[in-house]
Symmetry: C2
DNA sequence: TTTCGATGTTCTAGAATGTAGAACATATCG
DNA sequence: CGATATGTTCTACATTCTAGAACATCGAAA
């Protein structure tokens, strides 16, 4: 078996992109909201964290605790940020998809 | 839970695209080759058929037996073709990804 | 200082997808 | 017929996807 690059699962890719979009505001609840918006689906919070953890375990993402308290009540947030390896995986994943969409008449272009 | 469109898994999308690319020459072995090429990975034939079957069960794809014999030996081929629902799923899948890549500086563009 | 409401994260479980490779089927040719 | 080439099915298991309940923690009301 010739192994090479690491690719992302479907939902992993979505979550990674959402984190990227949110920038400094990327934490569980917000990420969930972003993903639900984009996918037009009601995604469970468990689904989000499970994926986030997996992504972190793979080294695609980093996380840290936010300031315990601040304005109003509630538990401390856990912020996430995409690492270089994550960007790489995103690119690799896109690259292989591009090879397959190239030349196809799909309405959403190939390049 | 607000359910709406059906989306494709990671490998499902890849296989669907490969079938599309192959057109009239879309059958197991060829599909496997195409996928391996694009992904730069050694994909097993079992992986291909399992996905092909699932895709067909979902109505994204159709299949039929090719001419039993022809030039030289071997078992009859089973050809595949993407159906309208498959094209739709491909578009939906792409649409939700686009929403997340829009505005991001990823090297491979958003639109 | 106890309780309540708001905000967030962990944990538990099960379904669906992804993946490999052996087993099996069938046709041609010597 | 047996060897060989070509292709598909079957069996198994790992990983990913997904939901929702349980748990944690903080501010403010009482």
């Amino acid at each position: 078996m010739k192994e090479s690059k690491e690719y992302l699962g479907h939902f992993e890719e979505i979550v990674l992109l959402a984190v990227l979009q949110l920038g400094a505001e990327a934490y569980g609840a917000k990420i969930r909201q972003k993903v639900s918006e984009a996918t037009e689906r009601d995604v469970s919070i468990g689904a989000i964290y499970a994926t986030l953890d997996r992504l972190e375990r793979k080294g695609y993402m980093g996380s840290w605790q936010g300031e315990a308290t601040r304005e109003r009540g509630g538990r401390a947030k856990r912020y996430f940020k995409v690492k270089g390896a994550g960007m790489q995986a995103l690119n690799d994943t896109n690259a292989r998809r591009s090879k397959l969409t190239a030349g196809l008449d799909l309405g959403f272009g190939a390049a």
